[in-house]
C-alpha cells in the first residue's frame, strides 16, 4: 500500500485530473506523436522554439495517470528552457526511473513525484513516453515509440 501511495501521489493525481498545457498549438514550430504499442497510450507533444528556447510546450492525447502527469509536469518544467536543457532533464528523469537507486536530483523539482514509478517496471514506459516524444519533436522526428530508448 505504501508503494501504491508512492506511485499515486497527490501531485500525480492532481496533474492527471487537471493536466497543464493540455491543448493544441497551431503555431508550434515542431511536434511529434508518441505511442506505446503495448498499451495504446498516445501523446502528441508540441513545442514552439524561439532561438533554441522552448517558449511554449503543450501536449494532448490519451494515457494513464502516470503518462498524463508526466506530460503535464514536463510541459511546465521545460517551458523557457533551451533544447539542450530540456534533453538533459529528460535524461535525469530517465536516470531517476531506470538508473541506480538514488535520491532524485534537485533539478527535477516536482518531477521527483514520478520516482514512485521505479517500483512498477510495467509503468516506466508510461512515464517516459512524453519525454521520448519531446526529444523526438526536438530532433525533428514525427514519431516516437516507447520501445526505442529504454
Amino acid at each position: 500500500m505504501s508503494e501504491l501511495a508512492d506511485l499515486y501521489q497527490e501531485i500525480i493525481l492532481d496533474h492527471n485530473k487537471r493536466p497543464r498545457n493540455y491543448r493544441e498549438m497551431p503555431e508550434c514550430t515542431c511536434s511529434a506523436e508518441g505511442n506505446n504499442p503495448l498499451c495504446g497510450d498516445e501523446v502528441k507533444v508540441s513545442v514552439r522554439l524561439d532561438n533554441d528556447t522552448l517558449s511554449d510546450v503543450a501536449f494532448q492525447g490519451q494515457g494513464c495517470a502516470i503518462s498524463r502527469a508526466s506530460a503535464s509536469m514536463m510541459t511546465g518544467k521545460t517551458k523557457g528552457r533551451t533544447a539542450s536543457e530540456a534533453r538533459a532533464l529528460s535524461g535525469q528523469v530517465r536516470d531517476m526511473l531506470l538508473g541506480p537507486e538514488a535520491a532524485p536530483p534537485p533539478e527535477v523539482g516536482d518531477l521527483a513525484a514520478l520516482s514512485g514509478v521505479r517500483k512498477f517496471p510495467a509503468r516506466i514506459k508510461c512515464a517516459m513516453l512524453p519525454w521520448h516524444t519531446l526529444e523526438a519533436a526536438l530532433a525533428g522526428q514525427a514519431t516516437a515509440t516507447s520501445e526505442s530508448g529504454d
Partner: protein, 408 residues
C-alpha cells in the same frame, strides 16, 4: 453441479494458492491465458520422463510411444470439438498460426482480385491482420460488419455487406474484449448461403462451453491450448476435410513430404500431415490432450453453471460502482467483464488491482478497431474461469471501490 467441489478443483491448480504482493493471488486474466491443472503438468512431465522420442519416423519403442501419444491427443481434441475425424485436426502453435495458415492458403487457392473478406469490428488482431495480408496478396478487399453498441454483431449490417463477392467470412465466436457470444450457427448459415467459406475464432468459446463444429458447420475453427488449461505453444486448427485437401501446404520440411527430389520435384502428404512441417510440439499436444480430458471430466454443464453464478454475483456489484461502465453488458456472454471508470485510465485500474493481488488486463485487448468504435483507449478486463470464487469477485469489487476513492 451436484458434485461441484470448488476447493477440490482449485487444489488441482497449484498457482491458485500463491501470493502476489503479499496478498492471495486473485487471477482474473483467464481470457489472456488460463492456469494449468496438475493433471496437465504431470502429463507433460511424464512424457519427457518416460516417453520422449521423435515421432513418426522411428522404429524404436520411444518413438512409437511418442507417436501413439501424439495421435491420441489428436483424437481427444477431435472429440472435444465434435470433429468428424482426428484427421481434420491440425496442430499449430495457437489460434494466431491457425488463422495465418488458412488466410495464407485461401489467398492462394480461393481468393481473387475483387473478392471480399467479411470480418466484424469486434475481431482480435489475429483475425484481422492475416486477412489484410491475404487481401494484399490476392487483390481481395477486407469488409467490416458493424456491431451494435451492446457489443453484438449487427446482423442487419452483416447481411447487407454479405454478397456475391463475399468469399470469406471470419469472425469470433465469443469476443475476448467483451465476452459477448455471437450467434455463430446463424451467421455461418448466412455466409454459406452467400457462398463464402467460414472461419470461426473459438479462442474464447472453447474454454467456456461445449463447441460442436459439426453442428456449427463452420469450415474452419481455431483455438489456443493455453486458454483451455493447456500448455503454451500448442493450438488447434480444425478444417472440413474438403477444405484441408484444397488448401495448399503452408510451412514445408520434414514429415510433411511424400518424396523430396531436386530433379523430380517434391510431393506432399495428405492433411493433417501436410500442414505439420518439422518436429511438432509433441509435449504440447499431449498436454493439450490432458487439458481437454480435464475439462471434459469437470464437465461443461457444471462449468457453465459455475461461471454463470460468478457472473450473476459480480456484474450487479460492478454496476453499482459510480462511473463504472461495462461494455458488452448482455445476457449471452462468457464470463469476461470489460469496463471503464470515469476519469480513471484502465492501466491505473490494473496497477492498483495488482497491488491487491488481483490480476486483470488493461488496454485494447488486441482489438483496437473495437476500442475505436467505442471511442475509448481501452478497458480494464476481469475475465473469470470456473475455478474462480465469489470471494475473489468480492475482492475485485472492494478494490475497485478503493480505486474510485483514490481518483475521486
Amino acid at each position: 453441479m451436484a458434485n461441484w467441489d470448488l476447493q477440490a478443483l482449485r487444489s488441482d491448480f497449484p498457482i491458485l494458492g500463491s501470493s502476489v504482493n503479499g496478498r492471495p493471488l486473485v487471477y482474473l486474466d483467464n481470457a489472456a491465458t488460463s492456469q494449468k491443472p496438475s493433471q496437465v503438468l504431470e502429463a507433460v512431465d511424464r512424457y519427457y520422463r518416460e516417453q520422449n522420442g521423435n515421432i513418426h519416423r522411428g522404429v524404436h519403442y520411444l518413438s512409437q510411444v511418442a507417436t501413439d501419444a501424439y495421435d491420441r491427443a489428436r483424437e481427444k481434441v477431435a472429440r472435444f470439438i465434435g470433429a468428424p475425424s482426428p484427421r481434420d485436426i491440425v496442430f499449430v502453435r495457437g489460434a494466431t498460426e491457425g488463422i495465418n495458415l488458412v488466410a495464407h492458403g485461401l489467398a492462394k487457392c480461393w481468393l481473387k482480385a475483387g473478392d471480399e473478406i467479411l470480418l466484424t469490428r469486434m475481431e482480435h488482431h489475429a483475425n484481422i491482420v492475416p486477412w489484410q495480408q491475404a487481401a494484399e496478396q490476392s487483390g481481395a478487399r477486407v469488409v467490416v460488419a458493424d456491431i451494435t453498441p451492446s457489443g453484438e454483431i449487427d446482423l442487419e449490417d452483416f447481411t447487407r455487406k454479405l454478397g456475391p463477392l463475399t468469399k470469406v467470412v471470419s469472425f469470433v465466436h465469443a469476443s475476448n474484449a467483451l465476452g459477448t457470444i455471437n450467434p455463430a450457427r446463424e451467421v455461418i448459415r448466412l455466409a454459406h448461403e452467400a457462398g463464402a467459406v467460414v472461419l470461426l475464432d473459438g479462442c474464447q468459446s472453447a474454454p467456456h462451453f461445449r463447441v460442436d463444429v459439426s453442428v456449427l458447420d463452420c469450415d474452419f475453427f481455431v483455438f489456443s491450448g493455453h486458454k483451455v488449461c493447456g500448455p503454451t505453444g500448442i493450438g488447434v486448427l480444425y478444417g472440413k476435410k474438403e477444405w484441408l485437401e484444397r488448401l495448399p501446404v503452408y510451412q514445408t520440411g520434414g514429415d510433411m513430404i511424400g518424396r523430396v527430389s531436386f530433379e523430380q520435384g517434391t510431393t506432399f502428404r495428405e492433411a493433417p500431415e501436410k500442414f505439420e512441417a518439422g518436429t511438432p510440439d509433441i509435449a504440447g499436444a499431449i498436454g493439450l490432450g490432458a487439458a481437454v480430458d480435464y475439462l471434459d471430466a469437470t464437465g461443461f454443464d457444471a462449468i457453465e453453471q459455475a461461471e454463470q453464478k460468478l457472473r450473476d454475483h459480480v456484474a450487479p456489484r460492478l454496476r453499482e460502482i459510480p462511473g463504472l461502465k461495462i461494455y458488452g453488458d448482455v445476457e449471452a456472454k462468457v464470463p469476461v467483464l470489460s469496463f471503464t471508470m470515469d476519469g480513471i485510465h484502465p492501466h491505473d485500474i490494473g496497477t492498483i488491482l495488482d497491488t491487491d493481488g488481483i490480476a486483470v488486463r488493461a488496454g485494447h485487448h488486441c482489438a483496437q478497431p473495437l476500442m475505436k468504435f467505442y471511442g475509448i483507449p481501452g478497458t480494464a478486463r476481469a475475465s473469470f474461469a470456473f475455478y474462480n470464487t465469489t470471494e475473489e469477485a468480492d475482492a475485485l469489487v472492494a478494490s475497485l471501490r478503493k480505486i474510485s476513492k483514490i481518483f475521486a
